[in-house]
Amino acid sequence: MNDLITLVASKYNYWAFIILMMLGLYAMIVKKNLVKKIIGMNIFQTSIILFYISVGAKEHATIPIIEHSHGAETHPIQAINYINPLPHVLMLTAIVVSVATLGVALALAIRVYRQYGTLEENEIQSQINQV
C-alpha cells in the first residue's frame, strides 16, 4: 500500500496530462460544432505544454532567475537550487504557436460561417450534399 501511494505521488502529474490530452482528443473527434472542435484542439495542445513543464520541475528548487547579479559572486550558483529552464523556453515557443494556430483556425471558421451560415458539421454536410 505504501508503495502504491509513493507510486501515485510521484507520477500523478503525468496521469493528469494524459487525462487532459484524452479529453481534448475526445472533444475533437466527437463534437459537431466547429468551434468546439477548435477548443478541443487547444486543450490537447495545452496538455502537452503541461507535460513539458512538469518534466522540468525539481524538488526544493526555485525559479531560474539568479537573484541580483551583484550578489551572485558571493555564493556559487548550484544547479540543484534552480529548476530546469529548458522546458520553459520550449513551451514559450509552443504557447505562441498554439495561439497563432488558434488565430488562423478562427479566421477559417469565420469564412465557413460566411459561406454556409452555420457552424454545425451536420448542417454543413447536408448543404454540401444538396448542391
Binding site: K11, I18, G56, S69, P85, I110
Partner: protein
C-alpha cells in the same frame, strides 16, 4: 459514433499511462532532463551572457534561432488572417446609425440615404448599439497609458525578472485592443491603421533577422551576438546582453503589431467597419 470514440480514447489513454511507469519521478533532481544539459545553462549563463534571467538567456541567445522562427510564426498568423478575411468593399451601401452629440438622439440612415454633413454634431456609432458611457471611456483613457508603461517595463526588465519580448508585446497589444473595445473600432483605426500595424509587424521580425544578419556580416555565425561588440562598443559578454535586448525589442514590436492586426481582422470579419 460516440461509443467508438470513447473506447478508442480510453484505450489510447491507458496505453500511454502504461508507459508512464518508466518515467522519472516528478521533481527528481537526478532525472536525465535535469542532469544532462540544464546544469550547464544554470551555472554558465550568467558568466556567458551577463543576464540573470536564465530563461531569457536561453530563449534569446542559446536557442535564439528557435525564437526567431517563433516570431515568424506569429507574423505568419497575422498575415494569414489578413489574407483569408480582409475584404476591400465599398462602404456606402450599408445602414448606419448616427447620434446627435448634444441631445443624444439616435438617427438611422437607411441604405443609400444621405449622411449628415455636420460631423462635429453627429458621430457614428456601431449597429450593435450600446449606450454612451462616459465612465468607461474616461477610465480607459486613464488606464491605457499605465498599461503601456508597464508593458515597456516588462520588455526592458526581461533580463532581471520574468518578462521579455513576448510578454511585453502582448500587454502592449492589449492596451490598443482595450482602446478598440472601449471606444469603437473606427477611432482606433484612425489612430493606428492596419497598414501601420502590418508594417510594424514586419519591421519587428526584420529587427530580429537583421541583428542576426549583422552578426553574419561581421564575420561570425548567424545570431552570434559577440560579433556586435565593436559596433556596440562594449565587452564581448555585455554585447551578448545588449544583443538579447535588441532582439527582445524586435519581438515585442512584432507581437504587439500582430495582436492588433489579428484583432482588427477577426473582430470585424475583415470588413473593418464595426468591431465588437
Amino acid at each position: 459514433m460516440k461509443a467508438i470514440a470513447f473506447i478508442t480514447v480510453m484505450l489510447c489513454g491507458s496505453l500511454i499511462m502504461f508507459s508512464t511507469f518508466e518515467f522519472p519521478d516528478w521533481g527528481d533532481p537526478q532525472s536525465p532532463a535535469s542532469s544532462h544539459l540544464s546544469p550547464y545553462f544554470i551555472e554558465q549563463s550568467l558568466v556567458d551572457t551577463a543576464v540573470p534571467n536564465i530563461v531569457t538567456a536561453v530563449l534569446a541567445d542559446y536557442r535564439g534561432f528557435d525564437t526567431m522562427f517563433e516570431t515568424t510564426v506569429i507574423f505568419a498568423a497575422g498575415l494569414a488572417c489578413f489574407f483569408l478575411l480582409r475584404t476591400f468593399t465599398k462602404k456606402s451601401r450599408t445602414e448606419r446609425l448616427y447620434r446627435h452629440s448634444s441631445t443624444g438622439i439616435i438617427i438611422n440612415i437607411k441604405k443609400g440615404g444621405k449622411r449628415p454633413d455636420d460631423s462635429s454634431k453627429f458621430e457614428r456609432i456601431d449597429s450593435l448599439w450600446t449606450p454612451y458611457d462616459l465612465i468607461i471611456k474616461t477610465t480607459c483613457r486613464l488606464i491605457i497609458p499605465s498599461i503601456q508603461l508597464f508593458a515597456l517595463y516588462v520588455i526592458a526588465h526581461g533580463h532581471h525578472s520574468p518578462g521579455g519580448g513576448f510578454q511585453g508585446g502582448v500587454i502592449l497589444g492589449a492596451s490598443i485592443i482595450l482602446l478598440a473595445i472601449s471606444n469603437d473600432l473606427r477611432s482606433t483605426l484612425r489612430r493606428m491603421s492596419e497598414k501601420a500595424s502590418a508594417i510594424m509587424a514586419a519591421a519587428g521580425v526584420l529587427i530580429y533577422v537583421g541583428t542576426g544578419l549583422l552578426c553574419l556580416l561581421m564575420g561570425a555565425a548567424f545570431l552570434d551576438y559577440e560579433a556586435l561588440a565593436p559596433l556596440l562598443q562594449s565587452g564581448r559578454i555585455m554585447a551578448r546582453s545588449h544583443g538579447i535586448l535588441i532582439v527582445e525589442i524586435g519581438v515585442g514590436l512584432a507581437v504587439m503589431a500582430v495582436m492588433i492586426w489579428l484583432y482588427y481582422n477577426i473582430s470585424s470579419a475583415g470588413k473593418h467597419d464595426e468591431g465588437l
